[in-house]
């Protein structure tokens, strides 16, 4: 094990950790919006770190170029997808979780803009 290999293994492990936390967030979070927040964006970080780790591991121009292109397209497309799905839910009036201590837990977000 050289230093480089340990570094690459750390990057890939961190990517898998974020992927796991995104998947767990999908199960644990109480409403649509928080699920979207924890899973959608966690997946971006996870894919980015995994692709970066693979590019470093192979250390080859072709693989690196493809990994960079994939990361760029992820950064371009994921926020637009997240925004469109969230906007559809918001306009349809999907109820929103307000925290575990509050009395009224679910409210229509459109009437509670602060």
């Amino acid at each position: 094990m050289t230093f480089d290999e340990i570094f690459i293994a750390l990057i890939i492990l961190m990517g898998s950790f974020f992927g796991f936390s995104a998947a767990l967030g999908l199960l644990r979070m109480p409403d649509f919006y928080t699920r979207m927040s924890t899973s959608g964006k966690g997946a971006t970080v996870c894919c980015g770190l995994l692709l970066a780790g693979v590019a470093l591991l192979f250390n080859d121009a072709q693989v690196t170029a493809r990994a960079i292109a994939a990361i760029l397209f992820l950064l371009l497309t994921v926020p637009i997808g997240v925004h469109m799905i969230a906007r559809a839910a918001y306009r349809a009036g999907t109820p929103m979780w307000r925290g575990s201590g509050t009395k009224y837990r679910f409210k229509n977000p459109m009437r509670n803009i602060q």
């Binding site: 936390s21 979070m29 964006k41 966690g42 971006t44 950064l75 994921v78 925004h83 925290g99 602060q114």
Partner: protein
């Protein structure tokens, strides 16, 4: 934009002339081209490029830092036994931003875990943002104004 293309052309010529097409050498050529253009007296489109490029790099680094920090915060929230977040829907006024700046700002906010843009008001003057970790709307507005909005304005104007 034209100065950026000139800089790219200089970097490519550097790689070709030194006969070494690796990424390191290309970046070195880009740096040399940047310095050479910096001292040249006449340029198409003026001198705005030299202040803008470092600002764009700064915005990217700031964004990466925010991404890592808020991802860690989101995973902490997911793994903690009791949910502590108090989600909010905040109206975020956009003062004097044009369409491209709003697009960039919306993408950056949506990419950060924990915040999500739900809607843009029809006349482009405010964003409706869902946030998980900030419990006070005024603090959140202040954070975005001092963080992303300021740097997006600097990088694009």
């Amino acid at each position: 934009m034209r100065v950026f293309l000139l800089n790219l052309l200089l970097a490519i010529s550097w790689s070709v002339l030194t006969g070494d097409a690796t990424v390191d050498n290309f970046c070195f050529g880009f740096l040399i081209g940047f310095l050479a253009l910096r001292v040249s007296p006449w340029l198409p489109g003026g001198q705005g490029y030299f202040t803008r490029l470092p600002r764009i790099a700064y915005l990217s680094f700031f964004f990466l830092e925010e991404l890592v920090l808020s991802s860690l915060r989101a995973s902490y929230e997911v793994f903690s036994p009791k949910l502590q977040s108090r989600p909010l829907v905040v109206r975020l006024p956009m003062e004097r931003l044009d369409q491209n700046q709003i697009f960039l700002l919306t993408n950056l906010i949506s990419l950060t875990p924990g915040t999500m843009v739900l809607d843009v008001t029809p006349d482009n003057d405010a964003l409706i943002v869902h946030t998980m970790f900030v419990s006070d709307p005024e603090t959140f507005r202040e954070e975005i104004r001092e963080g992303f909005e300021k740097r997006v304005k600097e990088a694009t104007s």
